[in-house]
């Protein structure tokens, strides 16, 4: 009963985390709120990104703790952790720079695509944990 409840918090968390970042990415791609500066939108989104991050890390750590051996040997899990670190580093460095006023729109679009791809990779890694080499 605890595990599925934690999973729901994990899903809620990654919707907030990836969703708040996707909002900025869609703006960088010109798909919504075009009259808003990406910098302003990213200020709006930032607290929800952090709430999402806190939720996924807390629920994720507890899910991991339920059966550590099952996870750290799992290739999808290892992939997910690597992409997660990359996605977070990307978000708080390059992505942050791409939304600043005066940044080139072309670079913004490329950054948005990379960002969406990275977060999709994290989610895909999570899904595949249940589908690859489970040791049990």
């Amino acid at each position: 009963m605890v595990f599925p409840v934690l999973e729901c918090f994990h899903i809620l968390g990654f919707i907030l985390l990836a969703g708040s970042i996707a909002l900025i990415d869609f703006r960088l791609l010109g798909a919504l709120l075009r009259d808003q500066k990406p910098a302003d939108l990213s200020v709006d989104a930032a607290p929800w990104t952090l709430i999402g991050l806190a939720l996924v890390l807390t629920s994720g750590a507890l899910l991991f703790a339920s059966d550590p051996d099952h996870y750290y040997l799992n290739h999808a899990f290892q992939f997910k952790m690597a992409i997660l670190l990359l996605a977070l580093a990307f978000h708080y460095t390059i992505h942050g720079r791409a939304v600043r006023p005066g940044a080139s729109p072309g670079a913004g679009k490329l950054t948005a695509c990379l960002s969406l791809a990275l977060w999709a990779g994290v989610i895909g890694g999570g899904i595949f944990i249940g589908f690859v080499n489970g040791p049990e």
């Binding site: 899903i11 907030l16 899904i127």
Partner: protein, 172 residues
């Protein structure tokens, strides 16, 4: 046998559904697309609701946020539904016996009703909605979508009644 069960059996034997059911790679790929869509585009729903609740983007009018996010949300909804229908087709007969599946479908129907009920006052009004109406709509929307998410995750936890199924389950 009910017509719905007959339809479920027909559906799961269509080429696409059967191929998806027995594929060790395509099934999780479609499931990934379903969840990536939920994260990216469900995120837009969450932000619409948060704006309705007055918790973000307060300098922007509600109508501006709703109108601007509508098309991306609609495109996202189509992607998520296309993946969802595929996933459900692959296990149609199993899902016929799944209480969480039917709860999820009922909540989605309620969300359609929600859209109609608040259509004029909030979602498709020409004027900025009254704050109380906006907050009620945003709060209800968040609750309903959270329910859909919980039921969606719950589907995977129900053991199918093996003696009643006609299609072979995937081996793993």
């Amino acid at each position: 046998m009910t017509p719905v069960l007959r339809f479920a059996q027909w559906l799961q034997y269509t080429d696409w559904a059967a191929a998806l059911r027995y594929s060790a790679t395509v099934y999780p790929v479609v499931l990934t697309l379903h969840l990536v869509g939920i994260a990216f585009f469900g995120g837009l729903i969450v932000f619409t609701d948060l704006r309705l609740l007055g918790l973000t983007m307060r300098r922007l009018p509600i109508t501006r946020v709703i109108d601007s996010l509508r098309l991306p949300k609609q495109i996202g909804f189509l992607i998520v539904v296309a993946c969802g229908v595929s996933l459900a087709s692959a296990k149609a007969e199993e899902y016929y016996y799944n209480k969480f599946f039917w709860a999820k479908m009922s909540l989605l129907a309620l969300i359609a009703v929600h859209g109609l009920v608040f259509g004029r006052s909030v979602y498709r009004g020409r004027h900025e909605p009254a704050p109380s109406q906006a907050k009620l709509a945003g709060g209800l929307s968040l609750l309903l979508w959270t329910g859909v998410m919980i039921c969606g995750r719950g589907i995977g936890y129900i053991e199918p009644p093996l003696e009643k199924l006609h299609a072979l389950l995937r081996l793993r």
